[in-house]
Structures are given as structure tokens and as C-alpha cells.
Symmetry: C2
């Protein structure tokens, strides 16, 4: 393997039995790819909300502290006892992190499929991507056009397939329009572009006026700002206009999911409808796919009995999607990578720069609009 | 129509625009049955939790007040502004009440199916049963054995079909055991008997030691008392023993639904399982079919992403059940009316006796074990 070092670095996350979280740079031996594998030089990997659970392990980030050396920084923090109870299965294991990324194939196993990727730019979904190199099975790789910029190829899977999965789920469950929360996120902007392209009515819920302005600039028709006093009335009006009976919620705590169900019910039931204590018979559904708000979900029931709230995740969605549909979805991502599925990063940093107290705190705030891209080759 | 009076009495519930609830005895003209109808002399009708929404309209029962005359009492109470907002569609209408009941067919329309029921004892589901007479389409009637006692035939539909519907739903959605809350209710006792007969593992959740004792006496294997300090651990153990991944919840407010989901997840994930921040991939479901606790539903998420909470009602269940299955379920109820589907009433009262402040307050408390049977012919 010419030009491939014998060892490389990766970010690991360890939770000790005493509740201490330790983030460190670990040196590992660069593996030789097996027959059906390729070795990818990782050029870029995003820090997604879905990475932070494994990375931070629910630690109290006010307790973040730096130690170690300049070239091998160690970051520690304390995991509160409540969160620690959920970490039993990972205690004592220094876990590799990073769900997805992209790079160039610098070595390939013996199989024809692997050899065909040699020298190509690929995106990879599969964990252990906060690393300078990653051996990956061919089927984990999505071929990108030669010369795709690292920042363009880094987020090919999680946000794009999640956004597409929402629209696919909407169709397969018989809904005709969508509500989306945290709608100014990279994912939300993608979903807005997909819905505009596909003619799917979309109600965007945001938390700040500048987020509403951003989405309006991008052509969004319905934007409801939960910081506005008229939020609930605006939401009912937007849901009535679109006929949305399905929402995807990244917030997953507090009253928002219940407010959406109540707004759907209010939009469905005409003011002069005959009284029914059981509410409308139109099924209203909220899928929670994130946990930006760690508080309990609080449902104030004024939405009758035809309702559901449930978890939604990308992986089970992909598992129940046919091979043919998966090829179609992945190909659309590759084809529209710099348009529909464009991502924006506020900072591009090395693995070393990521192990910094201030950077990690900004990262963990999950403020919509702030997004970090790791560049492991820097 | 020999022996049928020209007019009869029924209980009506009126909400005025000023928020006053008024319960009264209304005189109405006894109808002549149409061709496909029968006229039923109502001998018994239960006051179910599902009747109380229409009857009480969310009124504050501390404000109950009696007026009117001895033979025509009027009961009033104040509907709080919050509840009144949901009552817009029924304002100003004095609505007949009472979902189900039984009695004898005293007149029949011209059709052969109607004539065949003349003189027979039938159970009826269809509203307006807190009345001395009720005209009902033949298809609303379930034929009962001649001489069935009014107390035995009064509750043929709502509790029996709800309990059977839970087991049918369990099977059709691929679950193999059940959790049930408010499990010492008439409905809960029925469900326990069905599950024992059909070999379905059942976890009964109750709120008091004497309720646990009652269910144990009736052969229940798993009973968890939420008033016990070890409740959450008991629940995990019972769910692990049974493999239950589906719960039916009559409480519908507070933390119970979330506790059940968390217990299911804890029962599913072995202590030495590899760490996953997304939780198990086993779907865990709670269906809320009641609202004994009016507080918001509060879900504290430690149950991963494979979960759902949703509304469940008898009517939509019946609507999606095939005609063949409905005949099977109704026939089982008729066949096992005094065994599996036996109901118990603490009080049997006339329509006049029901319009009493103390009686209505006891009734509205929905204390498990207390249940009223209206006897309109008294």
C-alpha cells in the first residue's frame, strides 16, 4: 500500500466505571483491506447530532476539562449518575466514533468490486469515521464523481437519507403533506428543497425569526416560529392549508409534539362539526427522530383518539426499504449532492482541533446553523 | 303497540353557552319502529367511563347543584373555560346519553328480521340508552337467551368487545403478551379471564393492594401495584417473564405510559448487551384507550427509538374488523355472558335516582370496583 502510513489516528470515547468520560486521540494500526473491502483515506466527516450520543455519553459538558499533551490532548467530563445507568454496556471500552464521511480509496481487496473503486472518491456510512483511515466493505461505499470536494461528499447518508426517508414514509403511510421541526437545520433545509422539488406541502417549524427568514429565502411557503405569540394559531392555519397529518420531530422533549397533534386536530375538525368526545377519526402521527430537548415529552390531549407518537430512525427505515428503492434514493443523493443535498459547515477542523473544550461545547450546543466538519488529514 | 306508553323519559345532557351543564329527565314521544327497526324496552344500562365524557362534559363536579322538582330533578354544574372550548359543537343541544344496554323487544317493524326479534331479549349498542325505550335498527341488536337478567345483559358490547379487541390487536400486530393498566376494573377482570382462557400472558397493573388481591384471587399470574415502592422493578420482572411488548392503558395521563415503555426496554435489553444509544430494535407499543388521569402524558425517554404511543378506540377497531370476525366475537360474548364477560355493579338505580348530586359524584370518581347500573323501568 504505497503512501499509506503504518499507523494512523482516530478519536475515541471512553466511559469509565467511575463515570468519567474521556475523549482521546488513539493511534491504531492501519488495516489491510480484506477481499471485499477498500481502505478509505478519510478526508471529511461531519459532527451530526446523531454522533453526539456516542461521543459525549450524556456527560455534563460544564465539567469538560483538558489534559494530556499538545499532540495527544485528553478531554474529560463527568457523566451524571442518571445518564451513567444507560451506559452499562459501553463502560471501559474506548469506542471509535463518527458515523459517516468521505474520502479516496487508497487500497483495495482482491475482489473485482473492491478493485474497481481504487483511486475513486467514495462516501462511507458505518462508524469509526473520525479517523484518518477506515477499511470498509464495498457495499458501505457510495461512489461519488471524481474530484468531489470533501465538504460536499461528507454528509451523503444521514441527513439526505433521513430527509428522503421522511417523504417516503409519508407516501407509504398514506399522508400527503409534512410538518417538520428544527426546520432550519441542514437536514431541514434539505427536506425543504426535496419537498419544493417533489411538490410535497411542508410546514416548517423554527425557533427564531432569523431561521424563519432563512427558510423563506429558500422558497419555503409555510414557516411557523415557535417564539411568536401567534405560533399555535399560525400552526393550525399552515396545517389547514397543507392538509398535513404527519410530522417529523427532532426536538423530542417538552410540549411541541402535543402542540402539533392539537393543531392537526383543530385543522381537521370544522368549527361547526357535530360534537364528538372522541375527536376526529383522521389519524394524526408524530415521529420523533431526535432528542434536541432532553425534557420528557409532554402530551396535552385535545386531539381525540386517532393519534400516534413514536420513534423513527434511519437504520430501521433503510432495513424495511427494498433494495431497488435504496438504489434509487442513494443515486438521487449522488446526482444532487451539490444542489438538493448540499450541506453547510461553519467550521472545518482537524481531529486534534476537535479535542478542545470550547469547540466541543459549541458543538454540543447543537445550535441550528452551527455545524462542524472534521478534516482528519489536516 | 300494546303496553307501550305514548311518552317515556330519558336523561339528557345540555351545555349552555354560558358554560352551565344541565342534566335533566326529558319526556319524549316513544317512536314507532321503522321497517328494519325494533322498539326495545330498556331494562338496564351501565354507566361506563366512556359515557361520562358526554354526560358530564368536563364539568367541575364540585359545583354540582340540584334544582327542579322531585319528579323532574335538574342537576347543574359549571364547565371550566378550558373544557368549554372543546364543547363548541354541542352547545345548546340537550343530548341523549348512554351508549349501551339491554331489554326486551316490545314492538317491531315490518321486516322479517325485525319481526323475528319480537318478545326477545336483546343487547343494544348505539347511544340514547339512558331511556325507558329505544328504537334501534336490527343490526344494532345482539340476541340474548330468553330470560337473561338485565344486570347480565347490560354490558354486552363496550367492555367485552374492548377486552377482546385488545387480544385481537395483540395478535394482528405480532405481539404475544399484554400489559393492562387499571386492571382491576370490570374490563380488566374480563381481560384477565380471556387471557387465562386463551393462554395469553398478561401483566396487570393496579393502584392498590386490595386490587392486587382481587386479581390474584381470580387467578391472575402477574400483578404489579403502582403504589408499591418496588413497582418499577416488579414491572420489569413481570414483563421479562411474559415477553409483553404491547400495553393497553386506561389512565392516559402522568408517567405510567412512559414507565411501561421503559420497563419493556429494560426487560428486552440484557445487562451485558453491546451498547447502543438507539436502544433495542424491538418495537414497544402503548395504546391509550381511556383518560382516567386528566394530566398530560409525560414520557421520560429511556426506551430507545423503537416505540409508539397512540390512541385506541373500540369503534375504529370494529370498523377495521371483518364481518366474519365480528360475528365470532359477538357470539363469544353471548355464549360466555355470565362467565368470562360477567359484570358486577355496586348499585342499581333508576333514571330519577341517577339525577342526584351525591350519586353523580361517586359515579364520576371512577373508583375501580364501583359501578352503577341504570334500571330505567324502575
Amino acid at each position: 500500500m504505497p503512501n499509506v502510513p503504518r499507523t494512523a489516528l482516530q478519536i475515541r470515547s471512553l466511559v469509565k466505571t467511575n463515570g468519567e468520560l474521556e475523549l482521546s486521540l488513539a493511534e491504531f494500526e492501519v488495516p489491510k483491506p480484506a477481499d471485499g473491502e477498500v481502505l478509505v483515506r478519510v478526508d471529511a466527516s461531519p459532527i451530526n447530532p446523531s454522533d453526539q450520543g456516542l461521543l459525549f455519553a450524556g456527560a455534563d459538558l460544564n465539567t469538560l476539562r483538558a489534559s494530556g499533551s499538545v499532540s495527544r490532548p485528553v478531554i474529560t467530563a463527568q457523566v451524571p449518575p442518571g445518564a451513567l445507568r444507560n451506559m452499562a454496556a459501553r463502560l471501559g471500552q474506548a469506542m471509535p466514533t463518527g458515523n459517516e464521511g468521505c474520502g479516496v480509496v487508497v487500497a483495495a481487496g482482491a475482489s473485482a468490486a473492491a478493485q474497481a473503486l481504487l483511486g475513486k472518491t467514495v462516501a462511507v456510512l458505518g462508524g469509526s469515521m473520525y479517523a484518518q483511515y477506515r477499511a470498509a466493505p464495498v457495499e458501505m461505499c457510495l461512489l461519488l464523481p471524481d474530484g468531489t470536494a470533501p465538504a460536499d461528499g461528507a454528509s451523503c447518508f444521514i441527513n439526505p437519507l433521513t430527509a428522503l426517508g421522511m417523504v417516503e414514509t409519508m407516501r407509504s403511510e398514506g399522508h400527503h403533506a409534512l410538518v417538520h421541526t428544527a426546520a432550519a437545520s441542514n437536514l431541514g433545509q434539505m427536506l425543504n428543497r426535496i419537498c419544493l422539488a417533489d411538490g410535497v406541502p411542508l410546514v416548517n417549524i423554527v425557533r427564531r425569526p432569523e431561521q424563519a427568514a432563512l427558510l423563506h429565502e429558500q422558497g419555503a411557503v409555510h414557516v411557523c416560529d415557535s417564539s411568536e405569540p401567534a405560533f399555535e394559531a399560525d400552526l393550525v392555519a399552515a396545517i389547514r392549508d397543507t392538509g398535513a397529518t404527519l410530522a417529523f420531530d427532532a426536538v423530542g422533549g417538552g410540549r411541541l409534539a402535543g402542540q402539533i397533534l392539537n393543531a392537526m386536530e383543530a385543522a381537521i375538525v370544522p368549527p361547526d362539526a357535530p360534537y364528538s368526545r372522541y375527536g376526529s377519526d383522521v389519524h394524526k402521527q408524530v415521529y420523533v427522530y431526535g432528542g434536541l430537548d432532553p425534557r420528557p415529552i409532554e402530551l396535552r390531549r385535545r386531539f381525540g383518539f386517532a393519534w400516534g407518537v413514536g420513534g423513527w430512525l434511519l437504520t430501521p427505515f433503510l432495513a424495511r426499504t427494498s433494495g431497488e428503492d435504496l438504489v434509487r434514493l442513494r443515486q438521487r443523493v449522488a446526482d444532487e449532492l451539490t444542489t438538493t443535498f448540499a450541506s453547510h459547515y461553519t467550521d472545518q477542523i482537524s481531529l486534534l482541533e476537535a479535542l478542545d473544550v470550547a469547540t466541543l461545547q459549541r458543538c454540543a450546543r447543537q445550535a441550528t446553523g452551527e455545524k462542524f466538519l472534521l478534516r482528519p488529514q489536516r
